[in-house]
């Protein structure tokens, strides 16, 4: 049984370059980067080198990058820190309905503390409308947070325009670029971004490392109090091996954006062509061209996503779905719901995401199994295309 991994948007394997970079930090240079002795200073050098690499990859200065434990912590820090530091100017925050859960839950927590949050609607392809944003900007708006690339459908937002709109009104702009690194060229000066969240494990780096970029001069309160690590902004011993891996991964990813995207694009186009030919009654959710190459979200009619996912898993193929149904409470994917995907496709939507190690044989195997399984599930499904029960 062949094992095919089509869930690279959830996490990726660590590439060998990254592992080689991480190995010394485990047993050779193992000091605490905050210590004053030579063991600590050597570890601190590794962290600084990684920090330089991260800063260079996004076009920032090294003293503006702070390492965290991942993208979720960076999102929490950015939103809660900026909101609480600027609450004297106002208490209104604007975000979108298709954000990652860490952003949405942080906003809900702030709502409980007296802040007001507007969740912007998106159109059918997942894009936030500038006109809508401008309409909701008020005098007491202090933060706008819109993700660069959506993790479920892969749509790329018009970040430059949104950031410009925000700065015209003097509002701080934060973006969650966890899925965007390695897929889209990011330059914080060119795009005029104030805060940016990053994560290592989506770009062939280790889990447990991420970073938040905070432009110099932006007021942002700290999330974790304690020691004076990370220039006294984020307490906690720095995860030296993971951070070293992160630095190497982001350097490689930004160096190889074009090559990787090209390779993934050819494979993905092949996959799309095969699946549209062989499987009927499907819908590709998301934007047609303004999206990253690696993510496809397909809705299958007359089929349930969970049973399809489990059947594919029994054949060795790993995919993911956005919705979950636990304890009788159906949490349909909030992203697809905000995009007004028709109901018959909401229940049967799966996300396929490709990595740079995907091969044509894997895709052929996956397609053959998808065709077989969808046909089998549709044969025991009581719904037909004409809308009448069989």
């Amino acid at each position: 049984m062949k094992r095919v991994y089509l869930d690279n948007a959830a996490t990726t394997y660590c590439s060998s370059e990254v592992i080689n970079e991480m190995m010394p930090a485990f047993s050779t240079i193992y000091g605490n980067s905050n210590s004053m002795h030579s063991f600590g200073r050597d570890a601190s050098a590794i962290v600084d080198r990684a920090r330089d690499r991260v800063a260079k990859a996004i076009g920032a200065k090294s003293n503006e990058v702070y390492f965290t434990s991942g993208g979720s912590e960076a999102n929490n820090w950015a939103i809660k820190g900026v909101a609480k530091a600027n609450c004297n100017k106002g208490k209104h925050i604007i975000t979108s309905k298709i954000e990652h859960d860490s952003v949405l839950e942080s906003c809900r927590a702030l709502e409980a503390e007296g802040f007001e949050v507007t969740y912007l609607d998106v159109d059918e392809s997942g894009l936030v409308s500038l006109a809508d944003l401008m309409h909701h900007i008020r005098k007491d708006t202090i933060l706008i947070s819109i993700m660069t690339v959506n993790n479920e459908v892969g749509t790329i937002q018009n970040i430059k325009a949104i950031a410009k709109t925000a700065h015209e009104s003097g509002i701080i702009f934060h973006t969650d670029a966890v899925q965007a690194i390695g897929a889209v060229k990011i330059d914080v000066d060119d795009m005029d971004i104030d805060l940016l969240s990053m994560s290592a494990h989506k770009i062939y780096g280790p889990k447990g490392a991420g970073a938040l970029y905070i432009r110099n001069g932006i007021k942002c309160l700290d999330l974790l109090d304690g020691g004076n690590q990370e220039r006294k902004r984020r307490a906690g011993t720095v995860n030296v091996p993971a951070v070293a891996g992160f630095g190497r991964a982001i350097e490689t990813a930004c160096r190889d954006i074009i090559v990787n995207q090209q390779k993934i694009k050819t494979i993905r186009d092949y996959f799309l062509k095969q699946i549209t030919e062989k499987v009927q009654y499907i819908r590709i959710n998301g934007h047609q061209y303004q999206k990253v190459q690696g993510i496809i979200n397909i809705g299958f009619e007359m089929v349930d996503a969970e049973s399809l996912l489990m059947m594919l898993d029994l054949e060795g193929i790993a995919v993911s779905m956005g919705s979950a149904c636990t304890a009788g409470v159906a949490e349909k994917s909030h992203v697809l719901k905000a995009m007004n995907v028709p109901e018959e496709f909401l229940k049967g939507s799966l996300r396929f995401s490709f990595g740079k190690n995907i091969s044509k044989d894997d895709v052929d195997y996956a397609i053959s199994k998808i065709v077989e399984i969808v046909a089998r599930l549709r044969s025991i499904s009581p719904i037909t295309k004409t809308g009448r029960a069989k």
Partner: protein, 353 residues
């Protein structure tokens, strides 16, 4: 999450599929989850279940539970089947994760609804059966011909009043050639939809349904007949979501209708309410005659903006108020002459095709 045993059943569920000649069909759709369970039962005269099948669209737990319910219920009496509980299913499938226990309820409800359906059918069997000669006619499976009832003068005038009101709302906008054919096409399309319906699954059902309706058709007028036909299509065994509304077919029908409508007509009907058009192309010609320049600019620019692909060719003409009155008076004269002939043509077209 799920145990190994559940996955084994899930790979190859037993009793999957439909059942020809079933007496009891139960459909259950959950509002929250959207899982759909349909259970077919074949019950003999001694009230024992001889065969049971299922068709499910749902999660792993629901499919496995439906399969287990069918295998438990075969060769048992109706009374025993009605007392089936979730624990009985768990003995067949093994433990379920706590979060997914609700899917056992879906399968049991499907079963109970199938048994209820069987009891309902027994009640209908008491009515006298049809003759065999009439059965042969039904085997052709065509839609029965409606008695053609010519409309009375009052009904014609009512229809024309509606047309007049619509045309007044349009005011001074004319469309070249589009609306003339649109009415005909819409009526033809509606009739085609009705003709292509195949709503008889089994011969038994066929007989029963026609049984009910034929006795009543003689005394109904055209409107009531049309209402009744549409109600026939809402019979239990034909639609999926009989209890909870019909999202799939409704949405599809609405979408098909919108696609079939002429985009220009959509705009005209909406007047100034701001309906969107998407499919105007450069081959559409629209002429606007108004009395002020402002309305031209507003309407023309809005149509160009809303066309989104090509800008249609728009001819504009500004006339004085007096000329406008003459124009509209002229139109009304034309209308009064061809009123009756228009209506007759419409009704003839409906029944010809």
């Amino acid at each position: 999450m799920y145990s190994h045993k559940i996955f084994e059943i899930f790979k190859n569920p037993s009793n999957a599929g439909g059942l020809q000649g079933s007496n009891g069909i139960g459909k259950y759709v959950d509002e929250i989850c959207g899982d759909f369970v349909k259970i077919y039962l074949k019950i003999d005269d001694e009230q024992t279940i001889t065969e049971a099948r299922f068709k499910t669209m749902g999660s792993v737990g629901t499919i496995v539970a439906s399969s287990a319910v069918c295998s438990l219920v075969v060769d048992s009496s109706l009374a025993e089947a009605q007392e089936l509980t979730a624990e009985d299913i768990l003995q067949v499938t093994g433990e379920y994760p706590v979060d997914k226990m609700y899917s056992l309820d879906f399968a049991i409800r499907g079963l109970n609804l199938a048994i209820a359906d069987y009891y309902q059918r027994i009640e209908k069997d008491d009515k006298p059966k049809r003759k065999k000669s009439e059965d042969k006619k039904l085997k052709d499976k065509k839609v029965k011909q409606e008695p053609i009832i010519q409309p009375t003068q009052d009904e014609i005038e009512d229809e024309l009043n509606v047309i007049e009101r619509e045309e007044e709302a349009i005011e001074s906008v004319e469309v070249v050639e589009a609306t003339k054919e649109y009415i005909k096409e819409e009526v033809i399309a509606e009739n085609k939809e009705q003709e292509s319906f195949d709503f008889f699954e089994d011969e038994e059902e066929q007989n029963e349904q026609v049984d009910e309706n034929e006795d009543r058709t003689q005394d109904l007028s055209l409107d009531e007949l049309q209402e009744e036909e549409s109600q026939e299509y809402l019979d239990e065994d034909d639609l999926e979501y009989d209890e909870f509304g019909d999202p799939y077919t409704e949405r599809r029908e609405v979408a098909e209708k919108e696609q079939a409508l002429d985009p220009v007509d959509l705009f005209l009907r909406g007047g100034d309410s701001g309906l969107e058009i998407h499919n105007l192309s450069s081959s559409d010609r629209i002429s606007i005659t108004t009395t002020t320049e402002e309305t031209i600019n507003i309407k023309a620019t809005r149509m160009v903006e809303e066309s989104k692909t090509f800008s249609p060719v728009i001819e504009t003409k500004i006339i004085s108020d007096e000329e406008m009155k003459k124009l509209s008076a002229g139109k009304k004269e034309e209308k009064s002459e061809s009123k009756v002939s228009k209506a007759k043509a419409m009704f003839d077209a409906m029944f010809e095709e």
